[in-house]
């Protein structure tokens, strides 16, 4: 009923293409995260949807309404700003009630809905206060409450947690998830924090240079990145990439340094087509483990730095002249300067084209 559709949306600032013919469909009630590094165009896309930014091409639909040429106020949506944009001259109550007042709702309805919204975000005690008297986290709640009481079909959030400290961010993240479950509005959430994206999104659209490079459910994005860019952007630490060459003869194998790595049967045909060509091997740090000796699918590595992080140890290692990160159990005994064998399962490997960076299937 209120899905959203971007149809070849284009937005250009001078020479920068902030939104390069982006098409994307979001289902009714879905929580869609736009993820990407700063400058990738995710906020522009959101602002185009909100009507704060004019589009240079393409159409935008909310439900079956074409909203491309509508003023923001006619698009019937709510938004949480990165800076919160909580009006400093209005009390918390008036801030939350702002949108309702603009719609000219009756007084008692406004009061009721503001109360509800305030309860949902535990702001009941602060309704008479001014924003300057609130903490950052409380202001953020006001911004969310202001959006929610609109009961709009579409809720937009532009990096709403980026100005909070780490602990608060963690709390609010869970709370937003709970809220979405409760209100079920179609939500578009812009962030550059991949943890937020993975935790909150029903689906994640990863953006780069004005394009969506991958759009999928979080686990697929994590496990099966569509490119070096996605793999390298998602995960802490991100996916490791090693340069290799597909063997020219025999069963297709990939030569990485002194090691030879055999693909899974499913991967074999794709590799067979690239005999003699360079290729990238992608593997997540947690999918590497110490092995006692050289065996199938092992790499020789030199430990450079050991960082005990409590839940695990993070190692910085040199493998065939490249630096990678490896995550090992906390009780693994290892010291910098050690030379070790690293083992991995072939089905955890993702192969990428060395030129384009795209994943090979």
């Amino acid at each position: 009923m209120a899905g959203i559709k971007f149809d070849s949306v284009r937005r250009v600032f001078g020479k920068t293409v902030a939104s390069n013919d982006v098409s994307l469909e979001i289902k009714d009630g879905e929580f869609m995260v736009l993820l990407g590094p700063s400058g990738c165009g995710k906020t522009t896309l959101l602002r185009c949807l909100a009507g704060l930014e004019r589009v240079d091409g393409g159409r935008i639909y909310i439900g079956d309404r074409d909203v491309t040429d509508l003023a923001p106020r006619d698009r019937k949506l709510a938004m949480v700003f990165q800076s919160y944009a909580v009006f400093p001259h209005l009390t918390v109550f008036d801030n939350i009630a702002f949108g309702l007042k603009m719609q000219g709702r009756p007084k008692d309805e406004i009061k009721r809905r503001v109360q509800e919204g305030a309860e949902l975000l535990q702001l009941q005690d602060y309704l008479a206060r001014y924003p300057a008297q609130l903490s950052g986290g409380q202001r953020q709640r006001v911004a969310v409450a202001r959006g929610i009481v609109m009961q709009a079909q579409v809720l937009l959030m532009d990096e709403p947690l980026s100005n909070l400290d780490a602990l608060l961010r963690l709390q609010m993240r869970a709370e937003l998830k709970r809220l979405h479950a409760e209100i079920k509005a179609t939500t578009i959430y812009v962030t550059h924090d991949q943890v937020e994206a993975l935790s909150l999104g029903d689906r994640i659209a990863v953006m780069k240079s004005g394009r969506i490079v991958q759009c999928d459910v979080p686990m697929n994005i994590y496990d099966d990145p569509a490119s070096v860019f996605v793999g390298g952007f998602i995960g802490t630490p991100p996916m490791n990439f090693l340069k290799g060459v597909v063997s020219a003869e025999g069963a297709p194998q990939v030569v990485v340094g002194e090691s030879r790595i055999a693909p899974t049967p499913a991967q074999t045909p794709a590799l067979a087509a690239r005999r003699g060509q360079p290729i990238l091997l992608g593997i997540r740090p947690e999918n590497l483990a110490f092995a006692s000796s050289a065996q199938r699918n092992t790499l020789r590595g030199h430990v450079v730095v050991v960082e005990p992080l409590g839940s695990h140890k993070l190692l910085t290692m040199q493998v065939s002249g490249e630096t990678i990160k490896v995550s090992v159990p906390p009780d693994q005994s290892v010291a910098s300067g050690n030379d070790v064998w690293l083992h991995f399962d072939a089905d955890k490997i993702r192969w990428m084209d060395a030129g384009s960076g795209d994943t090979i299937h």
Binding site: R73, P88, Y130, M150
Partner: protein, 287 residues
């Protein structure tokens, strides 16, 4: 020892300015106060003020000074706000318009008076335009003493023209420091342009409005060149009377009395602005 030097530093830096301002502004103001309260024998007297109050033009001057303030200031705020909001949109070519709107900032009231006289006089440009459009066949007398509302109107227009620029610049500068998010939030939450201006822009602009109002009021009380050019003394204003008593009547005492009155009114109105437009402590975040 060092901290002592540190804490004395700001005073040291301000000292030259304070010295000049005290010697050349504060002391003369004090002298003018003395003049206003001094009789011909040099003793204290209120005679100058009595003379001022009983002067034929006094009540009119009082009335018109405040009427002009009441008419001009809101008109200027509206015009300046319109200009500032337009420029704030940063449309292509906005800097040219900013330049144009700001020009009157540097135009003296002497020159402005001459320019507007050429427009409003009997056979001036406005009547020429109206005539060539066929709206009138005889010149309309905008500056007739028998039609004070018309004369008053011309003054309001000319003064608004001249002094809108400073208000515009102050308001625009104020707009620039307000994060755009606030305006966008208002848009997203359904405010029309008018509602956004009334409920979001104006309240957030309060500090700038306060500054603009104070500066404008100070200047509005002191301008009379334009009034003199367009209305002669048919529409007297307080500072104009002060000048007239000094320059034409050769009576610095009564002139000083008028000046004192102007200063008192200005201070009074400024305090009023501070009261009216004060951000509450809660709003500013002090509990």
């Amino acid at each position: 020892m060092r901290s002592k030097v540190e804490s004395a530093l700001p005073y040291g830096l301000l000292a030259p300015t304070l010295l000049v301002v005290v010697l050349l502004i504060v002391v003369p103001i004090f002298q003018a106060f003395l003049l206003a309260f001094q009789g011909s024998d040099g003793g204290f007297t209120l005679a100058q003020f009595q003379k001022m109050v009983h002067d034929t033009a006094f009540l009119d001057a009082l009335k018109f000074t405040f009427l002009l303030l009441i008419f001009i200031v809101p008109l200027q705020i509206i015009l300046a706000l319109a200009m500032a909001l337009l420029i704030h949109k940063r449309f292509r070519g906005h800097s040219i318009f900013l330049y144009i709107y700001a020009i009157p900032l540097a135009i003296s009231d002497l020159a402005a008076g001459i320019a507007w006289l050429s427009i409003f006089t009997e056979r001036g440009y406005l009547n020429s335009i109206l005539h060539s459009l066929g709206i009138i066949d005889k010149p309309f007398l905008f500056l007739s003493y028998q039609n004070l509302p018309a004369v008053f109107g011309t003054i309001v227009i000319a003064e608004s023209w001249r002094a809108t620029a400073i208000v515009m610049v102050i308001l625009l500068a104020g707009l620039e420091v307000i994060p755009r998010d606030y305006f966008e939030a208002a848009d997203v939450f359904g405010a029309t342009a008018l509602k956004r201006t009334l409920f979001v822009v104006l309240p957030l602009l309060r500090p700038s409005l306060q500054n603009a109002l104070i500066i404008r009021t100070i200047f509005a009380f002191q301008t009379f060149s334009v009034v003199l050019a367009l209305a002669g003394r048919v529409i007297p204003v307080l500072t104009g009377e002060a000048y007239y008593w000094y320059a034409a009547n050769r009576n610095p005492n009564v002139a000083a009395a008028y000046a004192v009155l102007v200063m008192v009114f200005t201070i009074f109105i400024t305090i009023m602005y501070f009261r009216l437009l004060k951000t509450t402590d809660a709003e500013a975040g002090y509990d």
